[in-house]
């Protein structure tokens, strides 16, 4: 079983984000530990938007703080289970904390 990072930059209403969320559910069901990184329009999934982030399938959900603020969302308004992060945290995720990176969706 692997530690897998999945990056999503598309709006949660896009086919691309929906595909990524489905992949996360399937990877999680197979026993992988998936960390979701949300950036760009993808951060909308962490504070609203449909479909919602597949929280139950994620070991962690990291949300780029600058991209949240840019879109008028305070880090305090994140769904429970989502953590704000910086670019350096995403780099650590890809380079040190994951066996595999998928994306950007």
């Amino acid at each position: 079983m692997e530690r897998i990072a999945v990056l999503v930059a598309s709006s949660p209403t896009s086919a691309s984000a929906e595909r990524a969320f489905q992949l996360i559910r399937d990877l999680s069901a197979q026993g992988h530990a998936v960390t979701l990184g949300l950036l760009e329009d993808g951060v909308l999934a962490a504070a609203g938007g449909l479909p919602e982030v597949p929280l139950a399938a994620c070991a962690a959900v990291k949300v780029l703080a600058g991209d949240l603020a840019l879109r008028g969302m305070a880090a305090g308004s994140l769904r429970p289970g989502c953590q704000p992060c910086e670019y350096g945290d995403l780099v650590d995720l890809l380079m040190e904390q994951s066996d595999r990176t998928l994306g950007v969706f």
């Binding site: 930059a9 209403t13 329009d41 840019l70 879109r71």
Partner: protein, 121 residues
């Protein structure tokens, strides 16, 4: 008939440049004597979310740009937000900048057929 245009903004701000281009063209149309209606639909409704903070990113705050347009001393646009799109994203009128109006599907088609031209982003 006065010249008029509906600028339809259907994409989320910042992820692509289209929403910013929409706001820019609303202002451009106004400055050229058009009546202008900005319609925010689908992911475009996020443009009217207040408090967008570009920080040092280099982006221009589109909520600030829309607010400035609405408060201008010269001609101002109508800004209509599509209520079904808003509700589908878990948002309400309270989540939007001041000065916008909500429209349903019928209101959307009414704006589109009352203006002369449509500019879609």
């Amino acid at each position: 008939m006065d010249r008029s245009i509906c600028v339809l903004i259907s994409q989320a701000p910042y992820g692509t440049v289209h929403a910013a281009e929409g706001v820019r063209h609303v202002n451009g149309a106004l400055s050229q004597g058009f009546q202008a209606v900005a319609v925010l639909v689908d992911d475009g409704v996020w443009v009217a979310r207040p408090g967008q903070q570009p920080g040092a990113s280099g982006f221009t705050s589109l909520s600030d740009a829309l607010t400035a347009a609405l408060k201008a001393s010269g001609p101002v646009p109508r800004v209509a937000v599509h209520r079904p799109s808003l509700e589908a994203r878990g948002l309400t009128a309270a989540d939007l900048i001041a000065g916008v109006e909500l429209v349903d599907d019928a209101g959307l088609t009414q704006i589109i057929t009352e203006t002369q031209f449509l500019l879609r982003f």
